[in-house]
């Protein structure tokens, strides 16, 4: 039911059950608050959101966050009494927490620039608004934080102010805290544990250009799913903030992964690559120290959205003084991959540049030769050389973790013909590209070829670089072979163009020479299905059936069929025999 009330002389509509603050916000009237959060029950603690409410001829000063809107109510948000109250409350808060920017700014808006009283503790940040308490208890259900003591001695913390295992480290309290008074302190050993450089939030868009651009919930990070798992389903309704705040009501916790059957005219296989598994090159001691990271992990570390907000830090939380970057990890090596991954040299150079730029650390690049072909690449290489990066020509041979935690990198400097060893704080492994581990499965699925390295084979390396031997299936990007971003984009554009060319034609011309099953003879043994390189045969009603659009008429199935039920059209036994007879007539 809709109700009407007046806010600062302006008539506004409200839903029953809404608070004055909610109505005012909708009407564009600003009311300052510190202890309010739309996802939490209002507490009415900070008293900043006070307004004057005139009802049934009675005027009173109330907190708008707790006051339910009622029909005919007259609300005034900036009377002298209201302004004086807010100002005094801000004076009191600023005197409590003189160094909190949020309060400083808010106080300045009300003309308070200096705290009128001396603070007991100038570093105090907590204003006891109770948002964290409500989030921890009402939303997360972890029941870790609460108030203790009373009056001026009131504090917030876990029971008896002791460390507790009940804290699930969800960080909900830090998110709702208006003054930044809560920090999550990770214990050292936990810092780089499990998924050190994983997603920063439990809800994220899977990748930047995702279509449709719909966020997903990481159930391992989501408070609700974590609490559900932790309590064996007993606590099923923890958090739920996203659902509460989503105006489109698009959040559905019951959604499960599902398989969709879609009929399409063409498929572009763009399954990408996998990072080389650094454990396969044990000489580099990956996993033995948190400061030995892969190139991809470095990207996350250096990203402003990453765990350190873009600061390059070691696991000890300090900027490294020296960094070694090892090229060709898992590439150009007969023990791992023989091929060159093409991108590692350039990204290693970029990372060397970033480390120099952000930390000024000494950088040592261990390389066999720098592969910088193409526009501007060589120039970049030269620039990095000028930035003072030490280039050591010779593949990094071994990384060992020293007792003091430092990392000793050994290699051969081919220019000097001697063994070198440097002690560094961080090692970045320039891991190469490998095919996806399930590439063989995918290749079977689409009937496309797969090389020894696992990359899919194109129909022709020069003339048909995006097509496959299966009509309508195209390749794009690194699933076909290592390539960098510009090459990938070009490759993908080519695939898209091929697809468009196919689809705009409207019809497909196929060769009349296809295989055909004689259903009378077919016993449904299915031997023909796996041998077909084009996945053109399927079992329909217990018998084999050839999809003429896919069949290339290669005849493998014809030769395989034990009951002679498959014939290759235009190459039937009779036709072949007749041809042979025709040829032999002249003999």
């Amino acid at each position: 039911m809709s109700i009407t009330l007046t806010i600062d002389g302006q008539s506004v509509q409200a839903e029953e059950g809404q608070t004055v603050l909610e109505v005012a916000k909708r009407a564009g009237v600003t009311i300052p608050t510190l202890c309010y959060h739309p996802a939490l029950e209002p507490l009415g603690a900070c008293r900043l959101c006070v307004v004057e409410v005139i009802q049934r001829g009675r005027s009173q000063i109330v907190t708008s966050c707790t006051m339910p809107a009622e029909p005919g109510m007259e609300v005034r948000t900036s009377t002298p009494a209201v302004m004086e109250s807010r100002r005094t409350v801000l004076e009191l808060l600023l005197s409590r927490c003189p160094n909190v920017p949020v309060i400083q700014q808010l106080a300045a808006q009300y003309g308070v620039t200096e705290p009128p009283f001396e603070a007991d503790d100038p570093n105090e940040k907590c204003i006891l608004c109770g948002l964290c308490v409500r989030a921890c208890n009402d939303l997360v259900g972890a029941h870790v934080l609460n108030f203790s003591d009373r009056g001026i001695s009131r504090v917030i913390g876990p029971a008896f102010m002791e460390k507790t295992r009940d804290c699930i480290g969800c960080g909900a309290c830090t998110i709702v805290c208006p003054t930044g008074a809560i920090e999550i302190v990770l214990e050292k050993e936990a810092l780089y544990a499990a998924k050190p450089l994983g997603p920063a939030s439990a809800i994220y868009v899977p990748f930047l250009q995702a279509v449709p651009r719909v966020p997903v919930i990481d159930t391992d990070a989501c408070i609700r799913f974590r609490q559900q798992a932790r309590t064996n389903g007993e606590l099923a309704d923890a958090c739920g903030v996203c659902q509460l705040l989503c105006e489109a009501r698009a959040i559905d916790y019951t959604q499960q992964d599902e398989e969709l059957d879609i009929e399409v005219g063409a498929v572009v296989v763009a399954t990408g690559f996998a990072d080389f598994d650094p454990y396969l090159a044990p000489q580099y001691s990956f996993g033995k120290s948190p400061n030995i990271i892969t190139g991809i992990e470095f990207e996350r570390l250096s990203n402003s959205g990453g765990p350190t907000e873009g600061e390059i830090l070691t696991a000890e939380g300090v900027p490294p003084k020296s960094v070694a970057i090892l090229h060709c990890v898992g590439s150009r090596d007969k023990h791992t991959n023989k091929y060159c991954s093409r991108v590692c040299c350039m990204y290693a150079l970029k990372q060397a540049h970033l480390v120099r730029d952000k930390t000024g650390a000494d950088v040592f690049e261990f390389y066999m030769d720098i592969r910088a072909p193409g526009k501007s690449y060589e120039e970049f290489y030269e620039r990095v050389q000028e930035e003072g990066v030490h280039f050591i020509r010779g593949k990094g041979a071994e990384v060992t973790v020293q007792p003091d935690g430092k990392l000793l990198v050994k290699g051969e400097d081919a220019d000097l013909s001697r063994v070198v060893a440097v002690s560094v704080d961080m090692v970045i492994l320039g891991t190469g590209m490998t095919a996806q581990p399930d590439a063989a499965e995918v290749s079977h699925l689409f009937g496309i070829g797969c090389g020894n390295e696992g990359f899919f084979t194109e129909a022709h390396p020069k003339l048909r670089p995006v097509e496959t031997n299966t009509d309508g299936v195209y390749l794009a990007g690194t699933c076909q072979g290592p390539r960098d971003v510009p090459d990938t984009v070009a490759h993908a554009n080519a695939a898209a163009a091929e697809v468009l060319a196919l689809l705009t034609k409207g019809e497909v011309v196929i060769s009349p020479a296809t295989a055909e099953v004689n259903r009378d003879k077919c016993v449904g043994c299915g031997d023909c299905i796996p041998v077909c390189p084009y996945t053109a045969i399927a079992r329909v009603d217990g018998k084999a059936q050839v999809n003429a659009a896919l069949c290339k008429g290669c005849g493998t199935c014809v030769a395989t069929c034990p009951s002679g039920a498959i014939e290759a059209l235009h190459f039937t036994d009779e036709q072949i025999v007749a041809q042979i007879e025709g040829v032999l007539k002249w003999v």
């Binding site: 603690a45 008293r47 006070v50 707790t66 005094t88 009191l92 009128p116 009373r150 009056g151 001026i152």
Partner: protein
């Protein structure tokens, strides 16, 4: 039933002389008078200044300040020979006349003891004594002759208002509880009295617990669909808890509580919930939170407890004194009751008269009696040579009423008008030795710890007002501090969440209003006119009066006094901590505070 020739009522059993009853019983036993004379341990008789008190019935003889050593004489003279022991009788302070019958003592004479009628007159542990003095006749009348609506009607007509301090009409509260929608309804008695110097509720719970139970039972009948009631008592009142517990047990045994009360279909149970002594739990919403087992913190009251209180159900919460008034109204008749008091404040009110008066104690007066009558006639006026300066009512939430307003009638509206409040009944009399700035500071210091700390103005505001007052009493105040003080006080009053916060600046605002000159003396002249604030006073020995007896020298804890015997003694100001012990000990009045 055994009949006795005489009853000896001992009302201060838990005072400083717990051996009084034992001594009395032993003496009676020794003289083999056990069959004739009955010793009754009663609740508080209220005349604290004169305690321990012995009342001998049926003669109505009162003995004051009785010690165990006096017992043999009392038994010998009064109980055996029928003579009055003059030296133990009350002595009128001005005429020095001895008064031996308690009704003749001005302290009792002017009072109207209705709610407190049984306190100090019956054994609070005996339901029989309560019934014998007319108890449970109101419940019987209600259950047999009145409908629930008629009971509410009677309470409404009587004009009874909440005795906890706010003065909300009780009839209206019951009626809205009754008409609110809920699965069931609850009633609660607030016995969380926490004001410094107040003990009315305690005396009632200890001295006449059945009246409270009876009042609640009548309330439960009237409001209907009330199966359970709660009495919230602070655990610092162990005797109150004990007596109430016993009373509930006995009343249940007698069929006056529990299932099928007096054989009717009406059932009602009462439970005691012990509070942990937080002042804020006297606030209704905090009390109910505490009852529910949560931390006692007030919540915004946009929905009244009568609609959604305890466990979200309609709840009628009244002070124990309000409940104790209920049987009285039923017995007297609402019309008769309404004749007592003023137009808007009906009935009587119990007060704890304490501070700088001769006769401190628990009193009950009709509404509308003037402060002067209370302080001078009942309280016996100021101590010798002193002058009354102010009356503080309403505890930390109330204000100080200056002496020129002594003719103010005591009722809800008049007190609020002058910046104080009725409160639950604390009444502290102050004389010219009280510094009003220090008084305001004292109450803020109390509230600083008792505020729950939930909302900013109350938590931080009280602290900062206290900071300013501390600055002033230590001689560091500035005139601008007064404006600051007033501004914070106004905001705390306006913007705090609950009544505790909203009323917390009252001691400051009322003293600023009436005693601004004292504040200014502290700030401008760095002088405490009352000679209280230690940083602003010095103790000096007057040459003219000092005899050199050495008493001050011996008692000084800091050895700050020097002087030879029979010669003038001197206080070393550098060592003096201004404790005042020398002044207390000087028999020649030779120590001056300046």
């Amino acid at each position: 039933m055994v009949e006795y020739r005489a009853d000896v009522l001992v009302g201060c059993e838990h005072g400083e002389h717990p051996d009084l009853v034992g001594a009395l019983k032993a003496e009676i036993e020794r003289r083999n008078l056990g069959a004739e004379i009955n010793v009754v341990e009663t609740g508080c008789r209220g005349f604290c200044a004169m305690g321990p008190i012995l009342l001998i019935e049926p003669e109505g003889i009162i003995y004051c300040a009785v010690k165990a050593a006096d017992i043999p004489e009392v038994v010998e003279e009064t109980l055996v020979k029928g003579r009055v022991v003059e030296r133990l009788a009350y002595q009128e302070p001005v005429t020095h006349q001895r008064i031996c019958h308690y009704e003749d003592i001005p302290f009792y004479h002017k009072q109207m003891r209705l709610v407190l009628r049984n306190c100090g007159m019956v054994d609070p542990r005996s339901i029989e004594e309560y019934i014998a003095s007319g108890g449970y006749s109101a419940l019987e009348k209600v259950l047999t002759t009145m409908t629930p609506d008629e009971v509410i009607q009677a309470i409404t007509v009587s004009g009874l208002r909440g005795r906890g301090g706010a003065g909300f009409p009780t009839g209206r509260k019951w009626s809205s509880t009754k008409h609110a929608h809920g699965e069931c309804r609850y009633i609660v008695a607030n016995g969380d009295e926490g004001d410094p110097g107040a003990f009315m509720d305690r005396s009632m719970m200890e001295g006449d617990p059945y009246a409270i139970l009876e009042g609640m039972t009548i309330g439960a009948y009237a409001i209907e669909n009330v199966r359970e009631g709660y009495i919230y008592v602070r655990d610092e009142y162990p005797l109150a808890v004990e007596n109430l517990r016993l009373a509930i047990e006995r009343a249940t045994e007698m069929g006056l509580l529990g299932d099928h009360i007096l054989g009717s279909d009406f059932s009602f149970h009462i439970k005691i919930v012990r509070g942990a002594g937080a002042f804020v739990c006297g606030e209704s919403s905090a009390l109910m939170q505490s009852l529910e087992g949560s931390v006692g913190e007030p919540r915004p009251k946009h929905v009244h407890a009568t609609e959604s209180g305890l466990w979200g159900q309609p709840t009628a919460l009244n002070n124990v004194e309000t409940w104790a008034n209920v049987p009285l109204i039923i017995n007297m008749g609402a019309g008769e009751y309404a004749k007592i008091g003023t137009t808007n404040s009906k009935g009587t009110k119990a007060f704890c008269l304490v501070g700088k008066v001769r006769h401190t104690g628990l009193i009950e007066v009709p509404m509308g009696m003037t402060l002067r009558e209370i302080v001078y006639d009942i309280g016996g006026g100021p101590q010798e040579g002193r002058e009354i300066k102010a009356i503080q009512t309403g505890g930390p939430s109330g204000g100080c009423i200056p002496s020129h307003l002594l003719d103010l009638p005591v009722d809800y509206e008049s007190l609020a008008e002058v910046g104080s409040m009725m409160g639950s009944g604390g009444m502290i009399v102050m004389d010219d030795t009280n510094c009003m700035v220090d008084v305001a500071r004292y109450f803020l210091d109390f509230l600083k710890d008792e505020s729950c700390g939930k909302c900013t103005p109350c938590r931080e505001g009280i602290k900062r007002m206290l900071d300013i007052l501390t600055k002033i009493v230590t001689g560091n105040g500035e005139m601008s501090d007064l404006d600051k003080l007033e501004r914070i006080a106004r905001t705390v009053q306006r913007a705090s969440l609950c009544a505790l916060g909203k009323t917390s600046p009252n001691p400051v605002l009322s003293t600023l209003r009436y005693y601004r000159d004292e504040y200014e003396a502290h700030i401008l002249q760095k002088r405490c006119p009352a000679g209280v604030c230690r940083d602003l006073i010095t103790y000096n020995i007057l040459e003219a009066k000092c005899t050199g007896c050495g008493r001050c020298l011996r008692n000084c804890p800091r050895k700050a006094i020097t002087g030879e015997r029979r010669k003038l003694h001197v206080i070393d100001q550098a060592l003096c901590i201004k404790c005042g012990i020398c002044k207390e000990n000087c028999v020649f009045d030779a120590i001056e505070v300046s």
